[in-house]
């Protein structure tokens, strides 16, 4: 029986269970919900969960396990029929069998042993599907019957259903946490592997970055080409330019929106600003590379300056525009959180609006605004696409914004594009870079959230 059909049947049984549980509860309560422990729909959900949940779990486990079991049985059969014993050869033969069975390989002139094995494989697959379908359906029916039998007014159906929901919520959050832990652990372990090739000191403080030269094995130990300082410098340079654009523009637009704009203007302008945040970064990237960078180049030529066609300036400015809505939206929120009573106090003294903003509102909102800036910085540091397209790949150690620079994220992207060997320091360096970047943005975020939190407590 195909998997999808089994799933549909389970869902139908659960729906049936819901209806039956509900009506049975009502009947048991003498037609009134008043005598029941829980509202009737909880009895329905209770029966539906008993019908659906165990059978779904069984289906999941079966499907996860049956591949390995079938594979073992087929390989045993191939080994008996062909007297091949080497594991690698057996694996290869098994792959052929699967392809034959799926029709991906032409069966004309194939090894009859393998053909027989392919038939056996198909037979096992069908058998497994049938057994699974039957077992799952029986389990679903048993669950349904068991739960229906238990439905009586005193049954605490709501508590049972809520326990299930509770567990579900917990599992969901656990999944997110476990994913993060997994990513961090893989970063750490691969970074440790990298640091067996390159000393952490050389990585963190080396002034030259040219991973390509280290491709040949005989150069690995002696090469100092994994000095990440040019990357950190490039990241810092671009993030600084971006913040120089985003902070004044974002902050001033936040002030305008929260203090000066009429309600109608605000209703139009704020969503428009937030559209900026919805533009995919790759679009910003080609805007930077095809429009902004050539513009600065021709501008520089007119002024007699030598501007590289891929410049930190272009990437930084476009990145700054990208994070403007980030800064303005967060700052707008914290400025709005400043109590009106403080503004009234200032106006009541005869202060003008700009005096009030400069001397009362902004100082009061400052911690939150700083928090917004730090979040924006971590966004800028982690941004990749714009820099890949507009800032170039050359790891120059320079603070001249008119030259091409590269960033940590760009190097990670370029090093992992295409074929890699996973034991070369070139590839492994990606993990060390990623770990560094992760630690930096983590610190920024923690500091930013601390500041924002502290600020919230002050007024609530």
């Amino acid at each position: 029986m195909p998997l999808s059909l089994v799933l549909v049947v389970i869902v139908l049984l659960a729906a049936l269970g819901y209806a039956m549980g509900r009506s049975r509860a009502l009947a048991a309560g003498g037609g009134s919900a008043r005598t029941l422990n829980s509202v009737p729909r909880y009895y329905g959900s209770y029966v539906a969960l008993w019908a659906g949940l165990p059978s779904l779990v069984l289906l999941f486990i079966w499907n996860a396990a049956d591949g390995a079991i079938i594979r073992g049985m087929v390989i045993d059969r191939i080994a008996m029929a062909t007297s091949v014993t080497a594991p690698a050869a057996l694996n290869l033969a098994f792959a052929n069998v699967v392809n034959l069975a799926n029709g991906a390989l032409n069966s004309d002139g194939a090894d009859p042993n393998l053909l027989a094995a392919a038939g056996y494989y198909n037979h096992l697959q069908d058998l497994s599907g049938q057994i699974a379908g039957a077992l799952v359906l029986v389990l679903a029916l048993c669950g349904l019957a068991y739960a229906l039998r238990r439905v009586r007014p005193a049954l605490r159906a709501r508590n049972a259903v809520e326990r299930v929901v509770h567990t579900l919520l917990m599992l969901s959050s656990l999944l997110a946490i476990l994913t993060t832990v997994g990513i961090v652990l893989s970063l750490i372990f691969e970074s440790i592997r990298f640091f067996t090739h390159v000393a952490p000191w050389d990585f963190l403080f080396g002034l030259q970055w040219s991973p390509q030269t280290a491709l040949r094995a005989d150069q690995v130990g002696s090469s100092s080409a994994f000095g990440a300082v040019p990357l950190f410098a490039g990241t810092l340079l671009i993030a600084t330019i971006a913040m120089l654009v985003a902070v004044p523009v974002g902050l001033m637009s936040a002030i305008y929106l929260s203090e000066y704009a009429s309600r109608r203007t605000r209703a139009v302008v704020k969503p428009l600003l937030e559209v900026l945040a919805g533009i995919p970064t790759v679009v910003y990237g080609f805007f930077a590379a095809l429009t902004v960078a050539p513009f600065f180049r021709s501008l520089g030529q007119m002024a007699g300056l030598d501007v590289s066609s891929e410049s930190a300036l272009a990437a930084g400015i476009v990145m700054g525009i990208m994070i403007v809505p980030f800064v303005s939206s967060l700052s707008d929120d914290v400025i709005n959180a400043v109590p009106q009573s403080l503004r009234d106090g200032s106006y009541g003294m005869g202060a003008t609006r700009s005096e009030t903003i400069r001397q009362v509102v902004l100082p009061a909102a400052l911690p939150g605004i700083v928090g917004a800036f730090l979040l924006a910085v971590s966004r800028a540091v982690g941004e990749t696409m714009i820099v890949v397209m507009a800032a170039g790949l050359a790891a120059n150690l320079t603070f001249n914004p008119l030259e091409a620079v590269t960033t940590v994220t760009v190097q990670i992207a370029t090093l992992l594009v295409g074929d890699q060997e996973f034991d070369s320091p070139k590839t492994l360096s990606v993990f060390a870079l990623g770990l560094t970047l992760f630690l930096v943005t983590l610190c920024l975020n923690v500091i930013a959230l601390r500041i924002v939190q502290k600020y919230r407590e002050k007024y609530d």
């Binding site: 106006y347 005869g350 002050k458």
Partner: protein, 271 residues
Amino acid sequence: MINLRIPASPAADDTVAAGQNVKFAARDVNVHYGNKHAIRGIDIDILENEVVAFIGPSGCGKSTFLRCLNRMNDTLDGCKVSGDIRLDGEDIYSPSVDVVHLRARVGMVFQKPNPFPKSIYDNVAYGPRIHGLCASQDELDATVERSLRGAGLWNEVKDRLADPGNGLSGGQQQRLCIARAIAVEPEVILMDEPCSALDPIATGLVEQLIDELRRRYTIVIVTHNMQQAARVSQKTAFFHLGDLAEFGETEAIFTNPRDERTQGYITGRYG
């Protein structure tokens, strides 16, 4: 005459006879919030160096009218004020009046103490600084000290002027706000339920202060506490559903109210 349309009590007439000037004269003041007619044709005269209490049930418009007197309602969206309000004979809603100057002359103390998130010193120095009242640091220091003394706070804070204003107790914060208001030497101080967030001891201090401030300033105070109105004010105005129901000598209002709505409110039958 205290008031042109509402006959004042004989005692009130005596006060005018003593030769006090009319500080605020309001005629036919109406306030609309959107569709809501919040204040209906109020006429009132407030005399110099007098404490006037506005009382009445919640939502009766007393705070709204108070905020008309220094045009704080300007900052609210959809609020429309009509009628004639004169400060020393000058129409404060005339286009030639700069609201910034008006508010420097008519200071305000709010319901909830709202010190700025600055030091005690900077809170008091805020007004003199923005209005450029003090030429030198010494003069500013003197103004801050005089204002804090005026608010009865100097002895409590003189050793910690650099501490944040939010660190003071509620009553101290409210007196700090009063010090902040008198630092710009206003002529009138509007107080919007200044004691509603304070405990009885702090309230007593503020009330005592109001009585002292009366010598130099005209004070209009909105209060929900009728004992407070009776204690601190010379005149009392009773507002009801946007109308000025009764206005006269405080003593007369509390002992012998003429309007039955006033009587009902004061005796606690409603409100």
